[in-house]
Amino acid sequence: MTTTATPPAKPQANTELQRRMLREMLLIRRFEEKVAESYALGKIGGFCHLYIGQEAVAVGVSAALSPEDYIICSYREHGQALVRGVPARAVMAELFGKATGCSGGKGGSMHLFDAGRRFMGGHGIVGGHLPLATGLAFAIKYRGGDEVCICFFGEAAVNIGAFHEALNMASVWKLPVIFLCENNRYGMGTAFERVAAVTDVVEHACSYDIAGETVNGMDVLEVHRATERAVQRARKGGHPTLLEVRTYRFMGHSMSDPLHGVYRTKEEVEEQKKKDPITQLMHRLKDEGAIDQPGVDALDAEIHAEVDDAVRFADESPDPAPEELGRHVLAD
């Protein structure tokens, strides 16, 4: 049951939900802008992959999940953590490597965890966490639960064996799992069509006899509705779904990579920015009279304050104690 064509997005979600979505998308945007700034100031180290441009995906998905559902992500997961409810303070502190971070300062940008919120981590090896998603769904079914597991990954992971092994087993065992491919068109600096024989990721759903949908990732409501359908399939009959969400990152692959250059043009990036999911939703809400400019400004100020607070908190938090070095290598 592969459906590559979805009905055109027609706003149906209620105003309150859309306002919440706007707030979450703005939070991610402002948070990531602050991360870029902190990185430039040397407060954040290592690899750091920003989510700017892709906010609608995490936000649209999150609105369709219940708190018991599992989320597991690749290393581009700041946004997913925030919308899952991991406090901005704990995420920022983790990026700063502080003891108060959501992984105690041991994970960093690529390994945000909040097991209590069933946020099962950012994982750093491309494709490596897809089998983990199948395993989490296996555990759900084993226990007879009605949760689902949703797994975020980039389109480059489609070329790795783990993708195929994970989808195959999820289908064979009818597990409640949603594989959500955020197709932002570039694996680092390599355009997908240069390295993939099949460039429509959703086609792979056929290979494993699971549901597939292509979704406009710049439209938060479309992402939301597609996720709701996938969640329903998973909860009802343990039928997995492959969602190909077409999106675009406005920043470089990571903080140490250029925004554009040999692999994509400045013009292309500018063209894509015209489809900015936040602007789109804001216009829609304004058209519907659900929000006005002063309202937007107030919301933005509130979010700025929240992000500034997170930075302050992270700045003031202590480093992990030296004895933390040897802790948590093994469980008791």
Binding site: G101, L130, A139, N168, L330
Partner: protein, 326 residues
């Protein structure tokens, strides 16, 4: 005390732990309907059903990762690799996912998972199927690695591994599955990280594990006829390693030979030698020698294969050298 095979000892361990804890399940190639490639899981599908004895596709990376995910979801998976040679495909999940989950989540996500299967050479299986992986696995912080040599240790260590809240690699031996030994009735738990003196002696310590325990015991027998009293220390666990046991024996004998199935370069024996030189330097009367697999891929030919493997004769020769008898 009942005498049973190593294979049946493992089977008992799996059955008892699955009866005891319904979050324990077995997953791997041919573990269910086929009753296990080496029949370790014989009868388990019938007793526990397909939900808990799960046949997988041939996709080591995939099902190892499924196991890791299931452990994240609160289960206690036992993942069987038909052999550890195939587990190399799953190394990403073992090393990057299982070993590090607890640490990089700041202690939030425990990883109670067992990866098990036969390790090392059997007979004439040539290069790709005759490899000992313990030094690869024991290198990784966050993993525990055990390699039982006897049926009793196999049962006791597998049961301990299943109850452990960390990823435990259980390295079995195809050539050991048919070997028999006394296994005490009732609850049998062998603590992970404890070596076992399989034969007491006073002149030289032979440090070994898994299949090389047999080799060392045969060597000790030959040495006895030459009036050399060899102590055979079975490490049983490679990570953590029982350093006090190694040091106590060397303090008694002043000479040591490490016997292992793996290749020499950066092998398990190198670690043992490091422990001895660091903490028993003044006890040594001779450099510690190692008997390992020859530093070549395993050949198919029977005679060449025999040349490549550690043998009692090689161990005797090394023991005589550290005793300055040759």
């Amino acid at each position: 005390m009942p005498t049973i095979t190593y294979r049946d000892a493992l089977n008992q361990a799996l059955r008892e732990e699955m009866q005891r804890d319904d979050t324990v399940f077995l997953m791997g190639e041919e573990v269910g309907l086929y009753q296990g490639a080496y029949k370790v899981s014989r009868g388990l599908l019938e007793e526990f059903g397909a939900q808990r004895v799960v046949d997988t596709p041939i996709a080591e990376l995939g099902f190892a990762g499924v196991g890791v995910g299931a452990a994240m979801g609160g289960l206690r998976p036992v993942i069987e690799f038909m052999t550890w040679n195939f587990a190399v495909l799953a190394l990403d999940q073992i090393v990057n996912s299982a070993a590090k989950m607890l640490y990089m989540s700041g202690g939030q996500i425990r990883m109670p998972i067992v990866f098990r299967g036969p390790n090392g050479a059997a007979l004439q299986l040539s290069s790709q199927h005759s490899q000992a992986w313990e030094s690869w696995l024991a290198h990784i912080p966050g993993l525990k690695v055990v390699a039982p040599a006897t049926p009793a240790d196999a049962k006791g260590l597998l049961k301990s591994a299943i109850r452990d809240n960390n990823p435990v690699m259980v390295l079995e031996g195809e050539m050991l599955y048919n070997t028999k030994g006394d296994v005490p009735e009732g609850e049998l738990l062998v603590p992970i990280g404890q070596a076992d003196v399989k034969r007491a002696g006073s002149d030289v310590t032979l440090i070994c594990h898994s299949k090389t325990v047999t080799v060392a015991l045969k060597a000790a027998e030959q040495l006895a006829s030459q009036n050399v009293s060899a102590e055979v220390v079975d490490l049983r666990s490679l990570r953590p390693m029982d350093e006090p046991a190694i040091l106590a024996s060397v303090a008694k004998t002043h000479r040591a030979v490490v016997v292992e199935e793996g290749w020499p370069h950066c092998g398990v024996g190198a670690q043992v030698v490091d422990i001895i030189q660091r903490d028993a330097f003044d006890q040594l009367d001779a450099p510690v020698l190692r008997v390992t697999q020859a530093d070549v891929p395993m050949p198919y030919n029977k005679q060449l294969e025999r040349l490549a493997k550690p043998s009692p004769e090689k161990v005797v020769a090394a023991a005589r050298r550290v005793l300055y008898l040759d």
